[in-house]
Amino acid sequence: MALLAPPTNDTEIAARLSAGARERPLDRVFRYALLASLLIALAFILILLAFVLVKGWDRLDARLWQLQPSARFAEKSGAQSAILGTLWVMAGTAALAMPLGIAAAIYLEEYGNAKSRLFTIIEVNVQNLAAVPSIIYGILGLGLIARALGLGFTVATASITLALLILPVVIIASREAIRSVPQEIRFGSLALGATRWQTTWRQVLPAAIPGMATGSILALSRAIGEAAPLLLLGAVSFIRFNPDSFLSDYTTLPIQIYNWIRDPREEFQVLGAATIVVLLVLLLAMNSVAILIRNRFQKRW
């Protein structure tokens, strides 16, 4: 047997200690049972993806993005307005949620006093908001943004609502990214006479940007898949034109999918499945970008 390098961590020590021991039958059953549970989740994903792909295969063609939806003929129906609507809403959501969320995270990590009452209130509040059901945000959007602010059922209302929905996720992810920047960097900068903001802006933020970008993109992909709040914000009505401003009527991919799969006719079910594939491809692309940023740019301290 070749010489082993000295163990570097506790896990490795434990692994080496138990490597020689014979595993008891009950222990083995237990281990396999745990692994099987995890594999159920994997199998579920595979079956789901295969089912959607097989079901929607015949309608996966250019008509999906070339044509507008039709309630009568599935074969003359596409999702162009929904695809563009999703892009518009996504742009608005990103423009609002990312700066706000990052600014809030900077406040909590670099400025706020962790022992103050206000800090605790903000912190618990963010954690709670992250778990508030999305449809409640729809009610907020309906009652305050669409009606009280008078924005109506527009791209702007949807963007603001979804931005508030993902704000807690952006804040939590950005805080983690900021926290992973070592204290020594800040001390060094302050010792050279930089002010707190100069330290944050020139040292902490550049180092934290990859982490914040990854977290924000993942949060944004949650917003793209979200349908429940938009049900209350007028996206359900049949939209056969593309949005051309933030004050346009709109629909989005998840809502278009919902409309189609509620139709009992088989050809609309197939159309719904094909549109799901488009949505999943969009999400996959965004997630890949997020992972790429994480792997390429994240610094290891």
């Binding site: 994903i45 600014a103 406040y107 006093n113 999305s134 799969i261 499945a273």
Partner: protein, 312 residues
């Protein structure tokens, strides 16, 4: 951490430095951004409770909370929220029957058994599951799971309805697995290795360490994970709106269709109820009830997580 920075900043100069207004302005701006989240909560409370209270001027609160028939559009209308609540409870509890064993077992495997490399490939799988839009899960429940329940499984004469609670609950259970697993895994990973090594030194096997040492030590975090899971199940909308049907139904039979609180809000809010009527206010009243229920669960969960963070 913030504390040490404050101390460092305090000692940075012997002379009192002049007030930098630019710095002050920036700090104020950042605080405002942080306060947006507080404003969101205030906004939610106003948006929900003002119309809800308006409803209770027409419908006595006790009728709302104890009434067993929900039919706001019928003549005469009836505003008993109990059927929506029981449907929500039934579906959430069934979902948790799936999510609890699978989620906790996955967490145990990832935290205690998986080698670092296996963990690196297995964890993203759960994240993929968490990233699938719920409308897709709803489609899968209605078009894949329900036909299997109706055609393949032997229910005898008691065939599940096309829209049924069981199919929605099964899929919702899998949907919640990542929520439960990732929080529970955090809690188990936070258990100090000294505890594990002590038990191993006494001759305990890995299974015994996992069940008798790690599990109890991480219990508060595990309970937090389960509570958050229930909270997600109660608030989930699209799966039930698509697969469980839109019929208020006071029944504990999972083979029947039924409407949850979220299902009602989705159906009524998407245009079935005329704006500015009593019926319209019901959306907000049901929403207020839903918000309060999830708020209590979230706060319990947050408190439990803070507790184990303090212990270790």
């Amino acid at each position: 951490m913030t504390q040490t920075l404050t101390e460092a900043a305090a000692g940075e100069s012997l002379r009192r430095s002049r007030v930098r207004w630019g710095e002050r302005t920036i700090e104020g701006g950042l605080l405002l951004a942080a306060l947006v989240s507080v404003a969101t909560t205030v906004g939610i409370v106003i948006a929900l409770f003002v119309p809800a209270i308006a409803l209770f001027e027409f419908v006595p609160f006790t009728d709302f909370i104890t009434g067993t028939e929900w039919a706001p559009l019928f003549e005469p209308p009836s505003y008993g929220v109990v059927p929506l609540v029981t449907a929500t409870l039934l579906i959430s509890l069934m979902a948790m029957l799936i999510a609890t064993p699978i989620g906790l077992a996955s967490a145990m495997y990832l935290s205690e058994y998986a080698r670092p490399r296996a963990r690196k490939t297995l964890k993203p799988i759960l994240e993929v599951l968490a990233g699938i839009p719920t409308v897709v899960f709803g489609f899968f429940a209605l078009e894949f799971v329900t036909p299997i329940l109706r055609n393949v499984l032997p229910f005898g004469g008691d065939l599940p309805e096309i829209f049924n609670a069981l199919s929605a609950a099964l899929v919702m259970g899998i949907m919640i697995v990542p929520t439960v697993a990732s929080l529970a895994e955090d809690a188990m990973s936070a258990v100090p290795n000294a505890l594990r090594q002590g038990a191993h030194a006494l001759g305990a096997t890995k299974r015994q360490v996992t069940i008798n040492v790690v599990f109890p030590a991480a219990l508060s975090g595990i309970v937090a994970a389960l509570v958050l899971g229930i909270s997600r199940a109660v608030g989930e909308t699209m799966i039930v709106a698509i697969a469980a049907g839109n019929r208020p139904n006071l029944s504990w039979n999972p083979l029947e269709g039924m409407q949850t609180m979220t299902g009602y809000i989705a159906q009524a809010g998407s245009g079935d109820v005329p704006v500015g009527t009593v019926d319209y206010d019901t959306i907000f009243a049901v929403g207020a009830l839903l918000f309060l229920a999830t708020l209590v669960m979230n706060l319990v969960s947050i408190r439990l997580v803070r507790r184990y963070r303090q212990v270790y």
